[in-house]
């Protein structure tokens, strides 16, 4: 019998500092690790602990695996302290991915805030591989300050260039700008004002801190999105990641097994979803 808790060994190739609190670790798994955008993996720092993260690299990239992690506790601090050459463990992938077949032919609104841009990045890269399947992508990004933005080289440069040849546009904001900032100022929900989207033929994908997800969902409902058109990427304390330890339950739903991607309709009646 295969041991479900046995992680795949991965070598840390590089640790990229994205912002004062967020780093991206680039890993080379010893065995191939395939996942679909939105699924997550459990990342083990040997001797320290294990925590769930959604990979932020492209699901099509079989050479490396990236996780973008905010320093928030014991395990994430250990991840921030990793050096190239270190060994970590990864098991997964787990959970339900973004249902890309349902997004076909639609205008896709991506809304990411802070470190919540990490799973959105994997989704965005997957969508770009088959961009002809979709009508358009509107990518709304937010962060507290310009300095807090992750993937600066992508969001402000490389991905902008993709807009020329693809049905893609960005709406970029920060809560508090500085003198060099040339985009919008205001919380990420502001980027949803004056959207030129045919909402009936659209889906919205939201990932960010709980308060951002709450107000973005409320705003989306206000401008006409239906509850089942809003896709949320949920987070909970988690250990086993396979529906056994019961830590991640939101009401009767397992974040690890039924999620982490839920429509708002699926969880709106569950207790304390924005905690």
């Amino acid at each position: 019998m295969e041991n479900i808790y046995n992680p795949i060994r991965c070598e840390v190739r590089e640790v990229i500092t994205e912002s004062p609190t967020i780093k991206t670790v680039v890993l080379t798994p010893e065995k191939e690790f395939s996942f679909l955008a939105g699924q997550f993996a459990s990342l083990t720092v040997p001797g320290v602990g294990e925590a769930p993260f959604t990979p932020s690299s492209s699901p099509y990239d079989k050479e490396k695996l990236e996780f973008t992690v905010m320093k928030a506790g014991r395990v994430t601090e250990a991840i921030h302290n990793l050096k190239s050459g270190d060994i970590v463990g990864v098991r997964g992938p787990y959970g339900q991915p973004y249902p890309l077949d349902k997004y076909s032919g639609k205008e896709i609104l991506l809304v990411g805030g802070g470190v919540g841009l990490a799973p959105i990045r994997a989704l965005f890269l997957a969508l770009m591989e088959t961009i002809s399947n979709y009508k358009r992508i509107v990518f709304c990004c937010g962060a507290k300050t310009p300095d807090d933005y992750i993937y600066k080289d992508l969001i402000f440069d490389k991905w902008q260039k993709l807009c020329e040849k693809n049905p893609l546009c960005f709406r970029i904001t920060v809560d508090r700008k500085d003198e060099k900032w040339k985009y919008n100022e205001g919380v990420v929900t502001k980027t949803l004002d004056g959207l030129d989207i045919n909402i009936k033929n659209s889906v919205a994908v939201v990932c960010g801190p709980p308060i951002m997800m709450k107000f973005t969902t409320l705003k989306l409902l206000e401008i006409g999105y239906a509850e089942n058109q809003i896709y949320l990427s949920m987070e909970r304390k988690m250990y086993c990641a396979i529906g056994q330890c019961r830590h991640c339950l939101i009401g009767d739903k397992f974040v690890c097994k039924d999620g982490p991607v839920f429509t708002y309709e699926q969880i709106k009646d569950k207790p304390n979803i924005w905690a």
Partner: protein
């Protein structure tokens, strides 16, 4: 199901023989309570049959409080566990679904289940805290065992529940086919115990509990039963529960050899669902207490199509705050009835 009869003396000598070749655990009495202990060939007469449940749940044998899961435990031995009451058998049904039901099988649990023979037994002297009849189950097992024994006058009836059970008995000449009369007599004994449990629980009302608890998340609702504030969040109820499965994983290895240890956890602990940044979806005691009961009587039915409470009463008997869950539930359900 095939039912055999054996005299008590015949059974004692049968078990004495088995104890010489297998690892048998059975209930023994200590200060008026039952605890599992290893049966050595000279103490088989002291085994307590058909009294009531043991203090510790049988899950301890299959999912110990703390054990290594990476790498998995290799040196597992075969076991026979005797005297398992229906409430614990029903607990194992939940554990089987959780740890072996889906694509992911817990290696240690599945290996132990495979290597263990379960001899269950009827419960004849239930404790005041026992309430299996209130959750739709009975004080005698109907399936889920390899053998079941019912003490009967000067002997016992032995139900054969599996091929494993049948081969444990083998060709032993001390067993005979049970008569219809003996089986009828046992039914009467069983009914008597059921009635006794119903009588002990006449002050409590848990009818239609799942429907009434659906959506009962409100913190204020759980402030109504005054007893909940006596909860000291010690985790006794979850540790003693035959169907509480929650655990956490600890990493103890190095980069060369990664090791993971599985440790029981309790949803009553404030840190149970607390996330890295310090936010908890269940910040108050009332939210956590509610969560445990909602998990038992609603979530587990959604997840496994089976109620998570077996009515064993260990959470009541072992509660440091002397909370009677039946009273709490009766009060909450009454309130839910009104709205």
């Amino acid at each position: 199901m095939e039912t055999l009869y054996i005299t008590k003396r015949g059974w004692d000598s049968f078990i004495k023989g088995k104890a010489e070749i297998c690892n048998i655990f059975a209930p023994f009495e200590y200060e008026g309570q039952l605890f599992y202990s290893r049966v050595s060939p000279d103490i088989e007469k002291d085994i307590v049959y058909n009294k009531a449940r043991t203090v510790e749940p049988v899950k301890l044998f299959f999912s110990p409080f703390k054990e290594r899961v990476v790498p998995e435990v290799k040196e597992l031995t075969e076991m026979v566990i005797m005297g398992v009451t229906a409430c614990d058998i029903n607990g194992l049904k939940i554990l089987d679904r959780v740890f072996m039901g889906d694509d992911y099988k817990d290696p240690n649990y599945a290996n132990r289940r495979e290597k263990t023979l379960i001899i269950s037994s009827d419960c004849l002297s239930p404790y005041p805290a026992c309430f299996c009849e209130l959750v739709g189950t009975h004080p005698y097992p109907e399936d889920g065992f390899d053998l079941n024994i019912s003490l009967f006058e000067d002997g016992m009836l032995v139900d054969i529940g599996s091929d494993k059970g049948r081969s444990f008995i083998g060709e032993d000449q001390k067993f005979f086919q049970a008569s219809k009369e003996q089986i009828n007599k046992r039914e009467q004994n069983r009914k008597k115990t059921s009635e006794k449990i119903k009588e002990n629980n006449r002050d409590f009302e848990l009818d239609d509990i799942t429907r009434k608890l659906k959506g009962a998340y409100q913190t204020d609702l759980w402030k109504l039963p005054k007893d909940i504030e006596n909860c000291v969040q010690c985790g006794s109820c979850t540790n003693n529960c035959p169907s509480c499965v929650c655990f956490l994983l600890e990493d103890t290895g190095t980069q060369e050899t990664m090791k993971k240890v599985k440790v029981w956890d309790s949803c009553l602990f404030p840190g149970y669902a607390r996330m890295a940044a310090g936010v908890s979806p269940r910040p108050t005691l009332y939210d956590r207490y509610a969560n445990r009961l909602l998990c038992k009587y609603w979530y587990m039915i959604e997840n496994y199509n089976r109620t998570g409470c077996t009515g064993c009463g260990r959470c009541i008997a072992g509660c440091a705050g002397k909370i009677d869950k039946r009273k709490v539930l009766t009060e909450v359900l009454r309130e839910r009835q009104r709205i």
